[in-house]
Symmetry: C2
Subunit: 360 residues, 2 copies
DNA sequence: ATTTTTACTGTGTGCGAGCACAGTTATTTT
DNA sequence: AAAATAACTGTGCTCGCACACAGTAAAAAT
């Protein structure tokens, strides 16, 4: 009647060996005779044994150190949210008496060198796991090779590097994100002359990000046939040049029906765009405060949210599961493309903090 | 150096009593002298003791029975998703060797009597906890009183009954949902003569739901001043009457710029509406397959998603936490108002299954 | 033939909390 | 004053797994 769980003890009994032997077989520790191995495996095969993960962690009071290779949260509110998600995961694990230590290795978003430096730092400290936003492809590659050599498990957030054996990637489908951006721009105005996708302060490191989003953006245009022109513009803050003026000129000269800003920096251009022509649709990324304010005042029409909080929380949780429970999961977690308007923004702000995703 | 966790053992030592005594104080089991109680409490006060939840559950191999009072998943795809969320929670708990049994008590959405009957059934079986969608206010009230009498903890999903001492409510802010619906309708067409909020097959049990959404809907209209008329229409499937024809007549005679369907039944009317005039905006609720198909073909413009899967999964998790870990949480979990378009729908479908929210 | 090595196997303890039960006082009853 | 009861306190076992260590048997070396 009772669906009693089968334990190592039971398997030992059924196989006619000791618990120690079963344990050795299960963990492939060797030093087991062929005969015994076979007996155990036979029982194992038809018993559907599932280790009790709770019991497993009880004895393990080890404090795992997880290195975090992330853009400096102080420098960018988006990455601040990301980091907060990690702290949230840590908090929850602590509640369960599972101790992890987060070892911060922050780098400068605009400096490949600082990424490199932080990465070397991590190799030196030999953490038990690494959560990394591998924004600089080339630099990341060799770092990841080192990690793999040292058998340190790592998880990607935000950016994937398919060539590496990460235990998981957590992020969004950028192509679809670009398509969604285009679709949202088309809500108010349908047929139009020209639409713009605007990249701000993005030199090379995010090249792949931008290209994917752009591809989605233009594909949507082409498929729907709603516009005959999409323009991709990159604009940077340059010393000696007036950024606002530069933006105004570009928008003024192109007169687009809508602008998709490919990063979280919509707040830097939305007021300028709307002051030129309030009818120009503006869609940006990420629910950071500056964007949120403009969303409420109508200077931004839609925000596509990545939920960095949940993404990186999940990242830590996956690593923790890997280490504490020796569980592994699907390797790709594509987050929903969240559409935020002035009317549902508040509901997303409430939402971030409350839950703890344990991957299954 | 090591942030070693403080254990019952340590407290016992510090207080100069045995572990048993500390345990009795912690659990208020009585049979402790005033002196000992005080000694323990003194140590407890400054030691910030947090029980090890993992160790706690290890010894407890009890299988908790959770009763589920829900509309029959077979009869409604929305509630199917809800039920799947519960199964997902159960699955995850099983992985951790925490056993719960879901005792299904399904009722007919349209029958107060079946709700009543299922509720009585639950009282009889005396479960360890109850997850309930209390759609019928009056009938629920007395049932909930009985539960409280029997000290059975219960959680609400979808609908809240603030008068009852549930350990949690999980749902959405309906007022804001109505506002959002109105906002989405206004994306394409701004100023317009008339907007309609349409209730299908909703007699009385959902009165509160509908009223709240309607209130949000009309408030948004008034505030923005974008329309001078919002019409609330209720339409039912009546034997002997042609439903499609009735819908067509109503839409045809009112010629609204947009229609918000207040339930998940948008699929029943969207094709009719669009065939009358494709320019009429249609916004519906819930990511069920029928709606999804119409979203892809442009017969529905936006869907507002409630994520019943995650809602009810969280509900089970809260109950499990309550029972296994004796943890309690905030009592209200308002879910984000998810905006779904044809371009981001797929990303939401991927998303449902992968994560396990453990409330904090 | 005895020792050493290798190959294997079983026992035992700890992890932290919960609870049953035995054990020890103090208080009341006879 | 002895016995009975009540009031309290401490010990010890359990949960399931992991790992250390002790122990045994067979094979190899001396």
């Amino acid at each position: 009647m009772k669906p009693k769980n089968i334990r190592i003890k039971d398997i030992a009994q059924l196989a006619g060996v000791s618990q120690g032997t079963v344990d050795r077989v299960l963990h492939k520790r060797g030093n087991v005779s062929k005969l015994a191995t076979e007996k155990v495996n036979r029982v194992l095969a038809k018993s559907n044994y599932k280790p009790n993960l709770i019991a497993r962690t009880l004895g393990n009071s080890k404090i795992y150190t997880l290195a975090v290779l992330l853009p400096d949260p102080q420098m960018d509110p988006f990455w601040k949210q990301s980091y907060d998600g990690m702290l949230s995961a840590q908090h929850q694990l602590t509640q369960l008496s599972l101790k992890i230590e987060l070892e911060n290795h922050f780098f400068d978003l605009n400096s490949k060198e600082s990424f490199q430096k932080a990465a070397l730092e991590i190799i030196r400290t030999k953490p038990d796991g690494v959560l990394v936003a591998p924004l600089f492809f080339n630099t990341a590659i060799s770092f990841l090779k080192d990690l793999q050599q040292a058998a340190v498990p790592f998880v990607f957030v935000n950016t994937n590097i398919a060539e590496s054996q990460s235990i998981a990637f957590i992020g969004q489908d950028l192509y679809k994100s670009g398509r969604l951006g285009a679709q949202l721009l088309f809500q108010k105005i349908q047929m139009a002359n020209c639409y713009v996708i605007l990249h701000i302060d993005e030199s090379l490191q995010n090249a792949f990000h931008l290209k994917e989003k752009e591809r989605g953006f233009t594909d949507y245009l082409t498929e729907t046939g709603l516009s005959n022109q999409s323009i991709s513009i990159t604009i940077d803050h340059q010393p000696g040049k007036n950024f606002e003026k530069a933006v105004a000129e570009i928008i003024g000269s192109n007169q687009p029906a809508g602008v998709l800003i490919s990063t979280s920096k919509a707040y830097q251009v939305a007021p300028i765009i709307k002051s030129i022509n309030p009818a120009i649709q503006v869609v940006g990324y990420d629910l950071i405060e500056a964007n949120l304010n403009l969303l409420q005042t109508g200077k931004i029409d839609f925000i596509i949210n990545q939920n960095p909080f949940r993404q990186s929380r999940l990242g830590i949780q996956i690593l923790a599961n890997h280490l504490f429970f020796k569980r592994s999961f699907q390797s790709q977690y594509l987050f929903p493309l969240e559409v935020i308007t002035s009317e549902n923004a508040a509901s997303y702000l409430l939402h971030t903090g409350y839950s703890a995703d344990l991957p299954e």
